[in-house]
């Protein structure tokens, strides 16, 4: 009965307002990319119709990376996923929706743009936060989302861990360091955006651990006179990956458009859009052009320090993993 009534009612209500595009893509993404994809979609739609003569419409869904992956697994009809970390797409691949070799199908680990983790502090940096060490001082209140639900938070956690392991030379000491860091966290929001709102709008905390792009955005939105970005000398290279969801795209017959969409990231225009939105571009030419926008930070990768996402996930974030142990203390 539903199936008969709903389209009818829906049709009545939507009559006239729907612009029929030749192809409609659903891009299921994580929290901080709202502005990025608003920009990117506009450019892609124009480029695609110019090249193929076809009109394309792109719908967006944003949320915590983990819960977005969960929705896709539960049947959210995403043609492409653009999530915060490879593990979340691996989880989708684990259910057979995406080919297991998805990360090799596009250049550079299927991560067309990268970012890193920086500190957003209040104007004048009253607590004098310059490096990771300053975070574990007593009286410093740190805002970060929950690593269990937020992709950005996992990057935060791993960045801190990587720093500590490098500095102190052992994983036990790294564990203690990260444990001390999380003792200074008064609020764990479920997503990166929630944490930013907590820090910026609600005035909680001395420092926000954030995606570099998210920190720039907050500064743009609320004014440089209120917040400063502190880039630690050493941080992690965060690679948010993208992939076509094979099962959905094939069923809907949208594979061509979906692939073109993701490939557009690797064009000069795509890279330029990434850089403009404070994501670090991969293209060396564009990177040089935007050199001044990004602080020089020594970056280590997750493969270097943790041996890849699958391993990091299992050791640190799985049930009973190191994060749980830290939190039990």
């Amino acid at each position: 009965m539903f199936r008969r009534i709903l389209p009818l009612v829906a049709g009545l209500l939507w009559a006239g307002s729907a612009l029929a595009a030749d192809v409609t893509l659903l891009n299921v993404s994580y929290d901080p990319t709202r502005e990025l994809y608003a920009d990117f979609n506009k450019a892609f739609i124009a480029a695609y119709s110019k090249e193929t003569g076809k009109s394309v419409e792109i719908k967006q869904s944003h949320g915590g990376s983990g819960s977005q992956a969960r929705s896709v697994i539960d049947g959210l009809q995403a043609d492409v996923v653009t999530l915060a970390l490879a593990y979340d797409i691996d989880a989708i691949a684990g259910k057979g929706l995406v080919a297991p070799d998805w990360q090799k199908r596009l250049p550079l680990n299927a991560s067309p743009y990268t970012s890193t983790i920086v500190f957003l502090v209040r104007k004048g940096n009253p607590k004098g936060i310059k490096d990771w060490d300053d975070l574990i001082k007593s009286g410093v209140s740190i805002i970060t989302p929950n690593p269990k639900t937020s992709g950005g938070a996992r990057w935060n956690y791993l960045a801190a861990w990587g720093y500590a392991e490098k500095k102190f030379g052992s994983s036990d000491k790294a564990k203690k360091f990260v444990g001390d860091l999380f003792k200074n966290v008064p609020v764990l929001d479920t997503g990166a955006r929630g944490s930013t709102v907590t820090f910026v709008e609600r005035g909680v905390g001395d420092v926000l651990l954030a995606w570099e792009n998210e920190a720039f955005l907050a500064q743009r939105e609320f004014g440089k006179d209120k917040f400063e970005i502190v880039s630690p000398p050493l941080s992690i290279l965060a690679e948010p990956p993208v992939s076509v969801v094979d099962k959905v795209a094939d069923k809907k017959g949208t594979r061509a458009a979906a692939e073109a969409y993701l490939k557009y990231w690797y064009t000069k225009e795509g890279q330029e859009i990434a850089a403009r939105n404070s994501y670090r571009p991969r293209d060396s030419e564009i990177a040089r052009e935007y050199e001044k926008s990004f602080a020089k930070v020594e970056l280590f990768t997750i493969d270097d320090v943790f041996g890849g996402w699958a391993k990091a996930q299992k050791e640190h974030f799985a049930e009973g993993g190191i994060f749980d142990q830290i939190y039990k203390n």
Binding site: A69, R70, P186, V187, T190, R202
Partner: protein, 278 residues
């Protein structure tokens, strides 16, 4: 259980309406809830027990049930005071305040959530002065408590109000003429006859607060073991792909709400036998 025998009434349509009722009820309520229980049966008892007794789950349940209990207590006291003022006294704006009592019930929970957060955040109208006193409300358990008090107010007021209105005045007068002072009359005569309604209101406010999500998550700090409520933990477990954990917690909460309904049910029976119908 047989639902099928119509004993009284020559009206038509029992079979048809009962059939439709049961069908619709099965599709919308029974099937989904059965699915929830079926899903938990995929777990062994040990696994189920392990999930429920894990520190984080226990703390989330403790926070949800504990704070709901406290909030319902505050509602009980404040609700009684409000009912008393609305029913027994005349003051300017009384009818307006009477209508206002229902706002927490009618206001969508997400709206209540952002509004309370805005109000009690460090820069908020109430949050700023409270912060000067050193009291942090938003993003602490106190914030959760405040949201729960907000949503629970109407339940106590609206269950107790009609009873107080209908309370037989002669008893009060009799007590007074027998020499009882006002204090005695209120606490020995009036309040005892309100007890079933008070308990019902308390239980309803409690039940609502335990399951509440929308108005709480904005203002809660969502810090595991400190300010993470059980419904939020369900959502978090879901986004971690841990369906079993989510359903196990859901089943526990569901059983708790069955119990509360049951308790309220008994309270109502008790009330009926205590107060003869007029």
């Amino acid at each position: 259980m047989s639902i099928a025998v119509a004993r009284r009434s020559s009206l038509p349509g029992f079979g048809l309406t009962m059939g439709l009722t049961l069908t619709w009820l099965s599709i919308i309520i029974l099937l989904p809830l059965a699915g929830l229980f079926l899903k938990t049966f995929e777990l062994s008892l040990d696994q189920f027990w392990g999930i429920i007794t894990s520190r984080r789950t226990l703390n989330a349940l403790k926070i949800s049930f504990g704070l709901s209990f406290l909030a319902a207590l505050v509602n009980l006291v404040m609700g009684t005071i409000i009912v008393w003022a609305l029913v027994r006294y005349r003051f300017p704006g009384r009818r307006l305040f009477d209508a206002i009592v229902d706002i927490p019930f009618a206001l969508p929970t997400a709206v209540a959530g952002v509004a309370l957060t805005q109000l009690f955040a460090q820069k908020g109208w109430l949050g700023a002065p409270l912060a000067e006193l050193g009291i942090k409300v938003a993003f602490t358990p106190i914030g959760i408590f405040i949201a729960m008090v907000f949503i629970g107010i109407p339940f106590v007021v609206r269950t107790v109000q009609p009873v107080l209105i209908d309370l037989d005045v002669e008893i009060e007068e009799a007590a007074a003429s027998l020499g009882a002072n006002r204090w005695h009359t209120v606490f020995r005569v009036i309040l005892p006859s309100l007890i079933p309604a008070l308990l019902t209101g308390f239980a309803l406010a409690f039940a609502r607060a335990v399951g509440e999500y929308g108005s709480v998550i904005f203002i809660a700090g969502n810090l595991p073991n400190v300010s993470e409520i059980a419904p939020l933990l369900i959502v978090i477990r879901l986004s971690e792909f841990r369906y079993a954990d989510a359903t196990a917690i859901a089943v526990v909460m569901l059983l708790a709400s069955f119990l509360i309904i049951f308790a309220v049910n008994r309270l109502q029976r008790w009330a009926q036998t205590r107060i003869p119908a007029h």
